[in-house]
Each structure stands twice: as C-alpha cells, then as structure tokens.
Symmetry: C2
Subunit: 381 residues, 2 copies
C-alpha cells in the first residue's frame, strides 16, 4: 500500500484542522429519524426476528429489495458488512494465493491492503479521465499477461473521478469472458450522481465474470456496515460457504432495520438520494469556485459528476506538491496527497490532491480554500 | 463436520413441529424496548457518529465497558460480529495452514467448520461431566502430541453441559504456556448460570496463551452479531490487522446502540441476565420434569446449571437413538441427535439427545415431552 494513506490519523495536526480526508457522507444526508422509527417497528414485531439468527446470504426482505433494484435474481445477492467486506470475501473465496490482479492505476489504496489476503501480485492498468483504460488492458492481455482478476471503480473513480463509458464496460466484460478473469467492479459512489447522464451497470450484472460490489455506506451511512455483492450464479455458493465460516451473516438487526426503512416507504431511498445529490453538488461547486477564487489558475479542476471527491491537478509546475501538503497542514487543512494513490509508475497522480468534501458545509469548505490559498502563497509569494 | 448438524433445516418436518434445535435466547428475555430507546438516542446525537466509520478494534465506549466487565486492559479487547466470528478471526490470524488443533470430544460441531479456514488437523480430547479432560490432554502432550491450539467451551459445555472447575482451568493454562499452544476458550453461555456457583474466567483473562471468546448473542440477541475477544497483549495487533483487511470493523450502529444501552443504565445488563436466568431455570426444570413424567426412567438427565440445553442420555439400551429421532420428527419434535457431536471415537454421545429449550414456553416444552413420550412408546410399547 502506498505509504501514508492509512497513517493520516497519526500525523500532528492543528486542533482546528479541517479534514478533507475520507469519503464520508454528511450526517444531514442520512435518514436518521426514519432509521430510528424503523428500528422501533422491527423491535416491536412478535418474536423479534431482528434479534435472532438469520441466513448467511441475507434476510429475504433485504435481498429481494436489492435484487429488484439491481435487476438480478435474488439468489445472486449476498448481503455483506459493507463494500470493503464484499471485496475481501471475493478475494478470499474466489482467488488463489499469489494470483495476479490487474488494478486501477491510480487506485483506491485500501484495495491493496485487502489484496494482501491472497498475497496477490499486482498488475497496474492506467486510468484515464474516463475510468480504467480498457484498450491498454487489452494490449497487456494480448502481450500475454494473464490476471486472475481485475479491480476497478467504474463510477466516479476513486481517486480520479472518471466514469467508465458504456461501450468500455461491454468491452471490459468481453475481455474478462474471453481471457477468463474475474472483474471486481467496486461501486460505492454510483448512486451519488449529481450531474450528467448515468451509465448503466447492466454489463456488470449480466456477466458470468463480474462480481459487482455495492454498499449502503455512502448513501445510508458507513456505520451501518451494510453492503452487498451481485455474484455470478455459479460463484454465489462458494462465497456464501466462506461467509458461513467467517461471521455467519450480517447483523440481522441492521438488515431488518434497513429493509423496513426501504420497504415501508418505497420512495424513501430515492428521496434520500435526491437530497444527498443536491447537497454534494452544491458543496462540490462551492468548493471548486472557492479554490479558484483563493488561488486563481493553480488548481486545474475537472468538475466531478458525482461522488464525494475533488481531484484537482496542480497546474503550476513551480509548486512542490509535498511541500504544499505540509504547508496546508500547518495552515489547518488535511487532505490526501496524490502520491498516495498510484499502484504503479506513470500516473502523474503526485501532481494531484484528493479533497473529500461530502461532510463539510460550504462555509467550512470556503475556510479550507482560504487556508489552501495561504499554503499556496507560501511557495508563490 | 459431523454430517447432519448443519442440514437440519433441509429435512422434511411437520408444519407444527416443535424445534428444539439451536441455542436461541427467548425474545422475552431480550431488552427490546430499551434497545429501541437507546437507538433513538444515538441517532439523535449531533453528527450521528453511530452512522459513521469507527476504529477496527471497536468503539471506545463499548470496549471500555467490556474491559471493565472482564477485568482486563481495553487494548486487549477486540469487538467482533459474534462469538463464531471471534473464533474465525483467531483461527485465520493466529494459526498456520494444517496446524493441529486439540478440541472437545464431543464438540460444538460448527467449530470444525470454522477450523476448515486453516485446513486444521483435529486432535480429539475427551470431555467429562466437568468439561474437557485436562489430565487426558496432559497425557497426550506427554506422549508427544503438539497441538498449536486447543478449543473448548469451559462453561456449560456444548453439548455436554459440564463446567470446567477452577483448578482444571489453571492446569489447562499451565499446559498451554508450557507446551506453547493457544487456548481458544469459547464462552457464549457463561452469563446464563441459573444454579450453583460460577467458576471464574480469570485464568483465561490473565494468560499470554488464551484467546477468550465472548458474545452478546445469548444475552442480548444473536441478530445483533456482536461479541468480543479478550486477546493476549502481543496477539491483539495481529488479529486487528486481519480484521482491518476483512470487514474493517463491526457495525458502529450496533456498537453504539449496545454501548448506550449498557452505559446509560449501568444495572440493565445484570437485570436482563437475572430475568433470563430465572426464565431458563424454569424451562429447564419444567422440561426435565415433563420428560420424566412422559417417559419414566428413559432419559437420564443431569440437571444443567445454566445455558440453553438439556443433554439427556438414553438409559434404556433397547431404544435405538436414530430411530427415536426419526419417530420424534414424525411426532412433531426436532432436536439434535447426539451422534452429530463427536469429534472422534469413544464418546457415547450417540446415546444422548441435545434439546434446546431457551426460546420455548413451558407449555410448548410439555407438548414436546408428550410427543417424545409417544415416540419412545413406538419402540417400547
């Protein structure tokens, strides 16, 4: 794992530091009152099934809601303790020790930590402004590389924010089926599109060679630890068998509460998403504008179409990126430096910064931009 | 794993069957109203930390409550998704592939499923009326057996219901430290003592060679999926490192709700346990009496001192145990036959029956006893 990403919390920082570190949803975007009400209802059910054992793959009410939303058979859905858990289960159940995994470059660094579960070897694949470079992957495969799996974030790539176009999804799946590797399509941000046209996940949900990794983390709250896998039919049993040997099943209580939340008011999930999208669009736009106002021409920003991050590039070659991160910390802003994200050489990611804006009000983001402006001027003034 | 134990749900059974299969707490013994109230409070906290990410080892409020109850340093507590998850983490993080594990004989069969995570080899150790036979274990060790770990249920052994005496705990720990193996002390029922004197867990919590596996499953509800490990100081880091790579941490939501429940009213846990113990004592005694009334002299019952099971022996050699299970099923009673529980030869477990009485009212247990009486008379009449 790139040194530093996981160690952020260990660094000295100002007591009043503004932390733009993690993809954290805003508390105000989560349906807390409705979750409390759903909890009261499930705990009042006769026999209180929410507090009892349940099936490994998930409770029927939740699996069937997920299956309907994904457009897949319920048997292909396995409820997990969040997206990362889904990745870990897939790595442990479906890969062999030492297998080669093709991965995004740059990459969500914690995936590399999960890949240690199978002592995986890593094959970096460049990520373009539109997600993983499928043509480059095809060339690697033609040149003889034989990964057992490929890891990518197709919607609002983390960190670089691009979305894989429809035809590239079809081609990626074709390559997976032709060369016999498994795509781990990690999709935590897909529901948070606040601009532009969405790209269908159907190619991922209709292939025998894709594990589609999903979660309620960014939409209903990371603290639930609740997500799901859409698995190819013939792999669902193997993953469930491993799951039964690790922690039996996800919390019946959490599953029952969220199933009650989602099914008692069929409009609540989309209404929650609509509020969240408006909030994140406002924050994304306000923070982008504030950065430009505080340091004109310094940050080259591609406005994201969704998700919780900005990934600006430092346009001015005279600015030292590492010194900027240190100066920003001294000014009271913490972010993830781009150099944490490469899985291999050649990305230019070290000239980028990853700002997480999701859980910060506009006024805080404007203060963060002002502090970043001061940090920039330490080098340019 | 002994064939059959996990397959019970697949068997044909009567629609009105009384299922005495699993160690399930009674819904009425769980503090459901208080959990709902605690949930409402944690979801009303500013910023709603219950719905956000938290630390791998557990949230401080819950770890510190557990540490105080166990009498250990907080750093030694790792919050898990229940007792089975704790065992799975210990097996995966602390054992090597193919290691030898000494285990109870008879045994809680699902442990053997968990042991598949490390392709463990199994060394059965007899269980007496007072838990694992430590003298027999000592003889095996003297004869040259070198297990890497030992698995036992010290309080209200599953299935055979004995409790390991204090001096045997000390000796077991001494052997572990002398021969360098790790004791996995699995203690889900320890808080459910309804008769007799408890035996301290201190020898388990003060050794460098014991992982003490605990859970709220039998006391606050299996559906929470919430438990904990007490780990030796020098092993806590390895287990947390694996945990961080699997599912990050247990649900912050569930942890926060239970921490709020336990700390907002410091007497609630013991009050809940007192009610549960009285309920299970009444059910255990009533079911024992009903079995004797319906089939005098047939079931040799050692009255359990706690937990959720009866483990009677068929005193009449003329009764075929497998035929009895089939006849009972036809009469409308399902239980676990003793033959599911051996981990090796020589137990006599096939002459036993495991009845789970925890979640059944007395009237239902009396009806179950009447049906069992009819099943017995199919062979004896």
């Amino acid at each position: 794992m790139p040194k530093g990403f996981g160690d952020q919390t260990l660094r000295d920082r100002r007591a009043d530091a503004i932390e733009l570190l993690g993809g954290i949803p805003d508390a105000g975007a989560l349906p807390t009152d409705e979750i409390a009400a759903a909890t009261a209802r499930v705990l009042a059910e006769p026999g209180v099934p929410a507090l009892q054992y349940s099936r490994t793959a998930g409770i029927p009410a939740l699996r069937s809601w997920i299956a309907a939303r994904e457009g897949v058979a319920e048997e292909r859905v396995l409820v997990t303790n969040g997206g990362f858990h889904g990745l870990a289960l897939a790595i442990q159940a479906l890969l062999e020790r030492g297998d080669l995994i093709a991965v995004d470059n740059p990459i969500f660094p914690l995936f590399l930590r999960g890949a240690e579960l199978s002592d995986a070897r890593i094959l970096p694949v460049p990520v373009t402004a539109q997600g993983i470079d499928v043509a480059h992957l095809a060339a690697l495969l033609e040149a003889g590389e034989r990964p057992a799996a490929l890891y990518t974030v197709p919607d609002f790539h983390n960190p670089s924010q691009g979305t894989l176009p429809a035809e590239q999804r079809v081609e990626l799946v074709r390559l997976a089926e032709h060369y016999g590797f498994l795509v781990l399509a990690d999709n935590p941000y897909r529901e948070l599109r606040f601009r532009g046209e969405g790209v269908s996940a159907e190619p991922f949900n209709t292939s025998s060679h894709v594990v589609h990794v999903n979660t309620f983390t960014k939409t209903l709250g990371p603290g639930l630890r609740l997500g799901w896998l859409v698995l190819p039919e013939d792999l669902a049993g193997d993953v469930a068998a491993l799951r039964a040997r690790q922690d039996s099943h996800s919390s019946t209580f959490v599953q029952a509460v969220i199933a009650e939340l989602l099914t008692s008011d069929p409009g609540i999930f989309d209404a929650t998403l609509d509020r969240a999208r408006a909030l994140y669009r406002e924050r994304s736009d306000a923070f982008s504008a504030a950065l430009e106002a505080e340091a004109p021409g310094v940050f080259e920003i591609t406005p994201p179409e969704g998700g919780l991050f900005l990934w600006p590039r430092l346009a001015d070659d005279a600015i030292d990126a590492d010194r900027l991160a240190d100066d920003a910390s001294a000014e009271g802003v913490e972010y993830q430096r781009g150099s944490f994200f490469p899985s291999g050489p050649g990305t230019g990611a070290d000239r980028h910064l990853r700002f997480a804006f999701g859980d910060k009000p506009v006024a805080v983001l404007e203060e963060a931009a002002a502090r970043l402006g001061r940090a920039i001027r330490r080098q340019t003034a």
